[in-house]
Symmetry: C2
Subunit: 173 residues, 2 copies
């Protein structure tokens, strides 16, 4: 997943230091991504090695703990523009470990599977509630991020409808 | 993604040689996974290194080209059972490159994004048609695989409903 380009896009909007970028990225792409700082920092390092961003001790830190601020290079801005208009993107495969277990389970695993389905249902409901709170915030997502949130919410509703059906099927079996 | 356990489950159901296992796995987990043989063979090698399967030149080949058949070991059967009842599975993060592009695009990228949305829509429609054909085959998926297919179909309908909304929003903007 090209998180690198998303980090580049953030830096191009407004230069920032590491943790600030992590927070802005989380807010922009939404909680369904389950981003971790440990995914963002390597992306920044890679961008710097590729000559797409530069780093410098910025003014936002203190003399004792200067913060490294990242800014795009001209090559970075070109690469960003190319990525945004790339035509060849195909949807990702749809893969879930739960699906593998369902495909290979036997009747004796019914209780364990029901517990896994229930755990997924809880996680999806919690995530749906988070997206609901996001939409009601004063700074609610707009534009592209609102479209991304809508995609996640549509998918969560589909997963929740399916999991109810799957639990009923397992209970009958 | 623990494809390794799915391959182990297949071998435990009926011993098989490499390509036979690829075909059985594709049929079992469905086309949304976009499996490739190059993902299955390393899983078999890993299972053998871990002592979970054994391989032997089987009877299904010829003297000139013996086929290596895989069978589970007792340790493999124990590992499989443990995997099937593992309780800790949480849903995978929901990530899509298209979502990253949407979250960072500007008005000037509208045409490129519309083309990407249209390409995704085509791919999802084709996949939905494949699942429709699968369901109408004489050997249509049953049991756990039918549940997995239902999950994919529900998700495809959600994606298609969303993409229509996203295209309309982009066209208005």
């Amino acid at each position: 997943m090209p998180l690198k380009h998303a980090v580049l896009a953030l830096v191009a909007e407004r230069r920032g230091y590491g943790y600030d970028l992590v927070q802005r990225l989380e807010r922009r792409v939404g909680p369904a991504w389950r981003l971790s700082p440990s995914a963002v920092y390597p992306a920044l390092d890679q961008l710097e090695r590729d000559g797409l961003v530069t780093s410098a001790a910025g003014r936002c830190g203190t003399r004792r703990s200067p913060r490294v601020a990242y800014a795009p290079t001209p090559a970075g801005l070109t690469a960003l523009e190319a990525w945004l208009v790339t035509a060849g993107a195909t949807p990702e495969p749809m893969r879930a470990e739960l699906h593998l277990r369902l495909a290979f389970a036997h009747a004796r695993h019914g209780d364990a599977l029901a517990a896994q389905l229930a755990a997924h249902e809880r996680a999806w409901r919690e995530l749906l509630a988070r997206y609901g709170r996001r939409a009601r915030e004063p700074e609610a997502p707009r534009g592209g991020t609102a479209l991304v949130d809508a995609a996640v919410v549509a998918r969560l509703h589909a997963e929740l409808a399916w999991v109810a059906q799957a639990r009923a099927t397992l209970a009958d079996a």
